[in-house]
Symmetry: C2
Subunit: 718 residues, 2 copies
């Protein structure tokens, strides 16, 4: 109980203190931190030593010697209006010339595309020329007052993560890591040789922490060396002339630049994925999986472990993708910002263990005199613990400079307690699944491949447009329900999975998360109608099932009992406005409900729609019966303990299982219960930093009052 | 000065008091009020006597004797889901059987349509039957879990206006006025004979106030005898078997029921009008104009005047439609709720005079003991006066029961003053056009035909979804600018009119007022881009130019310098967020700006976008240069004196005419100046009910300080 499952960083000349921390925290693994090499003495202090390894960067000698094998990316210029019939476009305008460079090594007419964005037409190849001296594309016979863009293939001169760190930390004349491409023939051979060599040269390292493999998520800087575009899921920087040609050979059709640049949206996960983009993802995932597998096999040959860092150059190795398990990795490590990111890591299949890197990172932005890093640590732990109770990662760890953290003894003590609490919890759970009252399917265009990653833009960053939906996964991450991510194609091909009680559809209209035109697919909509009508539960959040067609905006308006007024049906009187005095869904509500960005213009379409919250002339929460099934509507669900409870109750209500909710249940919104029937134990956790009085219901629904200390986890025998 | 241009109602046994009012108000015309007949003695008191006349109702003997010639309407059932492969739909569910009755006199297979609303397909005629006993349509071989609707032709049994009054006022067993159809052969003949007869029988009446002609705007009640659907512009109740057959003969193609029921939106003016609907409107306008012309000719034959009431059964006689002037009416009268409705009446061409009926109506809801009707009267007058200063109606008037108003002597005095102020103003203006600094074009799908009627649903009613746009016409109604309403087709066919300085596009995305897919018409967008680029001004309000396509949501994003984030471009960094310290547009602002419903997720697309208001992470007002032109964005513009000023300044700024604004200008937002150069006079009005200190600028831009009394109008010599 007092040792193991914990990874720590170390620091220069910090052996004695590292040993102290190893003891205090029960750490059994030590990792290096970006920017310095592990000292020799570290060996022996812990059972395992991790070291970062870069497959496709960090070897500029190779990169410079094989400059045509650098990684590539597709970029699109701004829209430029033609005011004359000749239009010259400076394609690098707004881009950072230290990061990218137009590729004129390959035939620009084969890989570039000039588009008339007013008509959507491709400009014929003989109508434009590229001058590589001034980096201008000139269009002749341009249509005046049309807008044009150039989509061009570029070489990547600087790895985005290193670029970010380099610029942020003023690394001055430190060389720029040039990223080379595993798909290009010489480099492909080279990376395996380099792997062997590195392993030979680093015999003390037990765990190779790949950071990560071949292709970085899309991160493009602008001409002022500031971030211009960031998409944690983006495939733009995985393209190359070779990949595009290989794709055509393998898939039987040629990808257009447009399939990648996508009008400048670059196939953001909010876009409805096109067939071509899904094909391309599949094509790259296959390639990456096959080649990463070879690296892993080399690591295993050398008797070491292969660990993947979930982030940076992770494109193609999506852990929920269909080729991931075939890679044979030993483990995945990722950063834990909240419950959702914890589950995103802990639910990964096909590895021996998962590891979460907890916050705060031991950096000067938190560890400075006068600040109390324990506050952030406690928040992070309480938030992540909810998810650990449902499905723990196998290890936890910390990153940064240990010497910084060491100056805060209270923090050192607190983390010691966290490590013990984690180990105790992990041991009791013992790999068993906790009690789940119902099973929920999150329905969107992506399904499984984006499990626990819905509505993310740049990993863990807050955006005004997403927080009202992120609350859904964050709530579910610690809720005693089963969760599965399903796509519209899953529904189309296989119907709703047998064991699903409730389907959640959450998102803004037209996005991949709401579903857009997928709702106009007759097979999908009828399968869902039938399923709900026959007793299924449906929870719609924001603009669920939205696609204006044939008299509805919400295509499941009939099931939801609400629709959204877009102006077209203002002439229709809207009578149903009476808020119910009370409702099962809001029984635990103790403060005004926070709908986040909320929605406007939602109205009840039926006399029987149960209006739960009605404000300012609009429905914000409601429920409706549809045959034997039920549907619930919520205008937005940012994360909060209360909203988590509202979502849980909405799901139980939709599932027609209200009477089941008070099993392994806490009536106080700040407390949650997880029951481990196989271990004959259950835990009551206080997710707040103050004392809580709570009635806890056991598996028979019998309540017992108790008082929990701030942040307490209390284990009870069943 | 003391007499004329004023119409009053009278009352039963009220001759003496009527004479008193005639003198106090200088009235020269007396009208009847709904529900009673003018007493004989009235003749001689005033110069003219008006009487209401109904062309197509109020003669149940005729109606009952020609039941197959009643008016008809197209109705659509609710969407009904098929849970079995046979689906029976009760087509009258939700409708009021005293108002409408399915038409099985004509072949239901010729005029009805059963739609699969899941696929959008028409169900073949042999797949459904209608049982007129139980009023059910039965569909065989229905696709399970598809939704179906029935569009059916119905007879109208009750005139909607009489129905409304009847039900509202509990008229008990008073007969229901059955509306008959001027297009049907026997009735067509009959209405002219009836007109002759009535004129013969009512020799004392000078002015026939048609209330109105053939077809009522759409007003449908539900099974609880409450309003179900109301569209002041709706053509649904102008259809008939005869009209549909005639349309086919004349236009060469058959209209589908769907062209009228339009998915249940019934071609609301918020919908982008289809070619078929525009054809149908034109077809009916032609018919109505031709036949109303005959009625007017009969009136003239009898030596009387023909006045049209703008409302009720006005469909087909839209005063800004292309056939209106050919009718030869003497006058139009309409209700004045504000400046917009005043201009809607006063701008009508092709009549000898226009008349505005002012508020309050002399009804017990305002004229009860303890209430001061002067308050509403003053508000109404101040609001409407702004518009009168720009283009007066030729007469004003009041309605209701004179005996009610007579009990409020202060009110009688106040209106006496209003009448004098109106006559004085009218005489000074003397038919001349006041000074206009710039000319503005309101651009939407409707253009001229809906002049001063944009964003209306039920005439003058407030809706949450429209008030943020109604402020545009309301502001313009009293602003010293010229206003023209232009359609996208006008732009496509003829470009932007030469004399336009600024185009305003205001509305929610996808509506006819914003323009929806019209913005994807290459000719339209390029003509506008060219026009702005070469110096034109553009003001976008709400979601202007919105139609997601080729990388923009706002198709004129480049000109506007802003676009709206729909989730697809979250990955793109948005840096331009710095609000300017001051701007020409907000120079007169004295209180927080009210954007009404406002907009979310608007962001600046350019470094040079002038951000005027930025709140909560979004741009609410901005300006941008585009070539020699300028564009302004405003998130919403409900009417207020301050918003009116903001719009005026936005237009001057967009037109690049900032230096011209201080001509005939008041620097206090509650005051406005109108200059009548032909009369060598200008007026300064105080639109508020408190004293105002203001600097007034003359035509040379020279300012003079003055203090205006509450609501004062001060006339000055130039």
């Amino acid at each position: 109980m007092k040792k193991g499952r914990v990874t720590i960083p170390t620091d220069d000349n910090f052996i004695k203190e590292t040993i102290d921390i190893v003891e205090k925290w029960g750490a059994d693994a030590i990792r290096d931190c970006d920017g310095f090499t592990l000292p020799k003495e570290i060996k022996g202090i812990a059972e395992k030593v991790y070291s970062t390894y870069f497959v496709a960067r960090g070897d500029n000698k190779w990169a410079k010697g094989n400059i045509e094998e650098l990684q590539q990316t597709y970029l699109m210029t701004k829209h430029i209006v033609a005011t004359e019939d000749i239009l010259a476009i400076n394609i690098m305008a707004g881009y950072f010339d230290q990061q990218v460079e137009p590729d004129s090594y390959h035939d620009v007419k084969e890989f570039w595309e000039v588009m008339d964005r007013t008509t959507g037409e491709i400009i014929e190849l003989d109508k434009w020329t590229y001058n590589k001296e001034n980096k201008e594309v000139t269009i002749k016979d341009a249509e005046k007052w049309h807008e044009y863009t150039v989509s061009f293939l570029a070489y990547c001169l600087w790895d985005p993560t290193q670029m970010y760190n380099h610029i942020t930390n003023n690394w001055g004349d430190k060389p720029h890591d040039m990223p080379f491409d595993a798909r290009k023939p010489k480099t492909n051979k080279y990376i395996y040789e380099a792997m062997h060599k590195w392993l030979d040269e680093h015999e003390d390292i037990d765990v190779i922490r790949f950071t990560t493999f071949f292709y970085h998520f899309t991160l493009v800087f602008n001409n002022l060396a500031k971030e211009k575009f960031v998409d944690w899921f983006g495939y733009s920087s995985s393209v190359s002339a070779e990949a595009l040609r290989e794709f055509e050979k393998e898939r039987g059709y040629k990808l257009r630049p447009e399939h990648l640049v996508d009008q400048g949206y670059y196939n953001s996960t909010f876009r409805l994925p096109t067939k071509e983009y899904l094909d391309y993802m599949d094509f790259q995932q296959q390639f990456v999986a096959e080649n990463v597998k070879k690296l892993v096999e080399i690591v295993h040959e050398h008797g070491r472990e292969a660990m993947m860092f979930l982030g940076d150059n992770w494109i193609g190795t999506e852990p929920y993708g269909k080729y991931f398990e075939s890679i044979g990795l030993d483990s995945v490590v990722g950063s834990v910002g909240n419950g959702t990111t914890l589950r995103m890591i802990s639910e990964i299949q096909g590895v021996k263990y998962t590891e979460g890197r907890f916050l705060p990172y031991f950096f000067p932005d938190t560890f400075y005199e006068g600040n109390d890093p324990t506050i952030e640590a406690r928040e992070n732990w309480i938030t992540a613990r909810r998810a650990i109770m449902r499905k723990p990662v196998d290890r936890i760890g910390y990153g940064g400079y240990l010497s910084l953290a060491y100056k805060f003894p209270e923090f050192i003590d607190y983390i010691g307690g966290v490590c013990n609490e984690f180990r105790e919890t992990y041991n009791i759970i013992d790999g068993n699944k906790p009690y789940c009252g119902i099973k929920i399917g999150i329905l969107n265009c992506w399904g499984k491949v984006r499990s626990w990653q819905t509505h993310m833009v740049a990993h863990a960053l807050w955006y005004k447009q997403i927080y009202s939906y992120l609350g859904v996964t964050e709530s579910l991450s610690g809720m005693s329900v089963d969760v599965e991510f399903i796509s519209f194609d899953d529904i189309k091909n296989n119907g709703v999975p047998q064991d699903i009680d409730v389907i959640i559809n959450a998102g803004d209209a037209g996005t991949a998360f709401s579903g857009g035109d997928k709702w106009l697919d007759t097979e999908i909509i009828t399968k869902l109608r039938e399923w709900i009508y026959n007793g299924g539960g449906f929870v719609g959040i924001g603009e669920p099932t939205a696609a204006l067609n044939e008299g509805h905006f919400f295509q499941l308006a009939d099931a939801l009992g609400v629709d959204k007024e877009l102006g077209f049906s203002l002439s229709t009187d809207k009578y149903y406005k009476t808020e119910l005095d009370k409702h099962f869904i809001t029984e635990d509500v103790i403060e005004p409900i926070d709908f986040g960005e909320s929605q406007k213009n939602i109205y009840a379409t039926k006399e029987n729609t149960e209006i739960i919250t009605y404000e300012n002339g609009e429905v914000l929460m409601s429920a409706n019966r549809y045959g034997k099934g039920r549907a619930v509507y919520i205008a937005g669900l940012p994360y909060s303990p209360q909203n988590s409870r509202i979502l849980m109750r909405s799901c139980y209500y939709a599932a027609n299982k209200e009477i089941e909710i008070k099993k392994w249940y806490a009536d106080n919104i700040y407390c949650e219960v997880s029951a481990y029937l196989a271990s004959n134990k259950y835990a009551v956790v206080n997710n707040s930093s103050v004392k809580q009085e709570v009635t806890v219901y056991n598996g028979e629904g019998v309540g017992e009052k108790m008082i929990l200390e701030p942040a307490e986890i209390r284990w009870m025998e069943i």
